[in-house]
């Protein structure tokens, strides 16, 4: 299948329904059902569901660009989470609800739980679905929330791979916005992007955005039950990049970047949230370190190749 046949319509759908105004409305507690129904009716929520179960049967690898688009446009609903949840539920023979599903993998704030109807926990083989009973984080305009009991720590690897892909999409957009801003904003008689100090920072931003994308791709290559090492590499790399990308983007944008009305914050607030969700870079470093020391005699080049 030519992936552009899927990616282009999905991009148009998101651009139509996830305008910055629509995102802000949902973040401020507005009704999200219209946006959600558009995703539901599009059929994309079943992209990862096997064809025999009525889905598109895409591999996670093939669907990764769709998930990155969700990050790129700061979609405020758990569309990627629901894609993965529906695939796991279908494989387990459980019927999926129509509403948005958030994936809870720990005691911390769960991405999109505040706008989810259901919470997925359990394991990849036997996923458990519960109605969302959430507790607000108290952070203004937050779509993340605490969910209490349901805890699917066994789903942490796939959730981490998903989060890495979202970070990758958002980081790419932040890079483009920041470069464009540096070319427009004039100080000292020329665009700030002509200043070497700013150019050097933007180069680092670009490096980190590319590193996040490559790291995320490593996570997506082994499917809905990712190899632990792949998930660790993906989320470590994406989380490491997320913090730096957000910091440099804000530094270059100056004060306008931290204003509510400017769209950069829609992306950078997500970058920080996704960095912490489903295990930060240090969490995944610990996991990978354990795997490495269990094979101490193996050369690093072999270990990272998975040989």
């Amino acid at each position: 299948m030519d992936m552009s046949e899927l990616i282009d319509p999905f991009a148009r759908l998101i651009e139509d329904i996830c305008t910055p105004a629509a995102i802000r409305e949902i973040e401020q507690g507005g009704d999200s059902s219209a946006m959600w129904n558009a995703f539901l009716e599009s059929g994309f929520l079943d992209a990862l569901v096997a064809e025999e179960s009525g889905g598109a049967g895409l591999s996670l690898d093939a669907a990764a660009p769709l998930i990155a688009l969700l990050g790129r446009h700061a979609v405020p609903l758990p569309v990627g989470d629901t894609m993965i949840a529906r695939a796991l539920l279908a494989a387990a023979g459980v019927e999926a609800p129509e509403g948005p599903i958030a994936i809870a993998t720990g005691a911390g704030a769960v991405p999109f739980a505040a706008v989810a109807s259901h919470i997925l926990s359990g394991t990849a083989q036997s996923p458990a679905l519960t109605a969302a009973k959430v507790e607000a984080t108290g952070v203004p305009h937050d779509v993340d929330a605490y969910v209490g009991e349901p805890n699917g720590s066994a789903l942490r690897p796939i959730a981490a791979v998903l989060r890495a892909q979202l970070i990758s999409g958002a980081a790419g957009r932040v890079m483009e916005m920041t470069v464009a801003y540096a070319n427009e904003r004039v100080q000292f008689g020329k665009p700030i992007g002509k200043q070497q100090a700013v150019q050097q920072q933007l180069s680092v931003l670009a490096e980190q955005a590319v590193a996040a994308r490559i790291a995320a791709a490593v996570g997506a290559r082994s499917g809905l039950q990712p190899k632990l090492a792949d998930a660790a590499i993906a989320k470590h790399g994406a989380s490491l990049a997320a913090g730096q990308v957000a910091a440099i983007a804000h530094a270059v944008h100056g004060a306008i970047g931290v204003s509510e009305e400017y769209d950069l914050q829609l992306l950078t607030r997500r970058l920080h949230g996704w960095r912490l969700a489903d295990g930060s870079e240090s969490y995944w470093a610990g996991i990978l370190g354990e795997l490495r020391l269990a094979a101490a005699a193996v050369p690093t080049a072999d270990f990272i190749r998975g040989a």
Binding site: Q196, S203, V218
Partner: protein, 384 residues
Amino acid sequence: MFETLTLSALPPEDEAIRPALRALIQESIAELPIHRRARSWQGFDPSFSRKLGQAGYLGLSLPKEYDGVGRGPFTRFVVVEELLSAGAPVAGHWIADRQSGPLILQYGTEEQRRFYLPRISKGEALFCIGMSEPGSGSDLASVRSRAEQQADGSWLLNGQKIWTTNAMHSDYMIALVRTSGTSADRQQGLSQLIVDLKAPGITIRPIVDLTGDAHFAEVFFEDVRLAPDALIGAEGQGWKQVTAELAFERSGPERIYSSVVLIDAWVRHLEAVGRKDSATLRLVGSLMAQQAVLREMSLAVTARLVAGESPVVEASLMKDLGTSFEQAVPQLIGDDLAANPNEPVDPELYRTLIYVTHIAPSFSLRGGTREILRGIIARGLGLR
């Protein structure tokens, strides 16, 4: 932006060469201590280079008609990865194999190809690159060494190169020199010449570095007469050729594995002392995760070379990230070891750590400084 960089798998036929190559490497360097292996691509052993050439591991991307192996950048990636992982001494053939060979293939005349390429593939023609001069480091377009073409077509070369890696061990230098115009013409009027380093009028003085090694040198040219066919490519096109050549130089796995021998020695140390606390695990895992992403990036850049592109910006991006990582490694491992002062550290690991710590600044100097690379990336971003 940079969407062309995507995960790329090595072809199975290239993966398949690892076992035999690894056996050859292990048999050749069994006695080499770890701190010597940490020299990585600065370790010089011409007999090992010839052995690799005889076994068909050099000239991988050169066509068979020039006695090359007729494979490509992916095969070379595997060979380089195996050599660097083991810490094999590869300096002898490194530059010829990585960039001089491909440069001669791309821009050389048929006679030049037939003369140089078979010897490069056998590990018998060792090359160095004459770029930097006392007054020209990052500002490469300001080179002042000058070759004047004589009435009979020959060249008369005068000037000086410096920081030339392995000049004292090399047979040839591919030098970037001015052949027309003046310094004010900048990138115009520069050419690349193949200089036979045994020619009269050449003086080579090794420069000792802070580790006690002498891996680079200064090279003086005093009325050096070169045959008309010393010119490689077109007169005045040197800058364009050098830019393409630097994409080869900057993109390879040598920009991510310079500290890997140290990492491996440290991991074996951690196992020997049985240290598995969470701070240790996180540091180990963080280095592995970064190394893994860098490898995928290097492979992604290699895939662009395979596709026939000259990924100048992508290679710069990868090299800056890669060398930053390589430089962080000795700092972090040094801190880790010294944070456990009651833990005995094998003197061999200590020597390796200190060597890599001291030489690490060069990782982001050789092949283009960090600041220059970031300038190239900024241009790729449309900022200049």
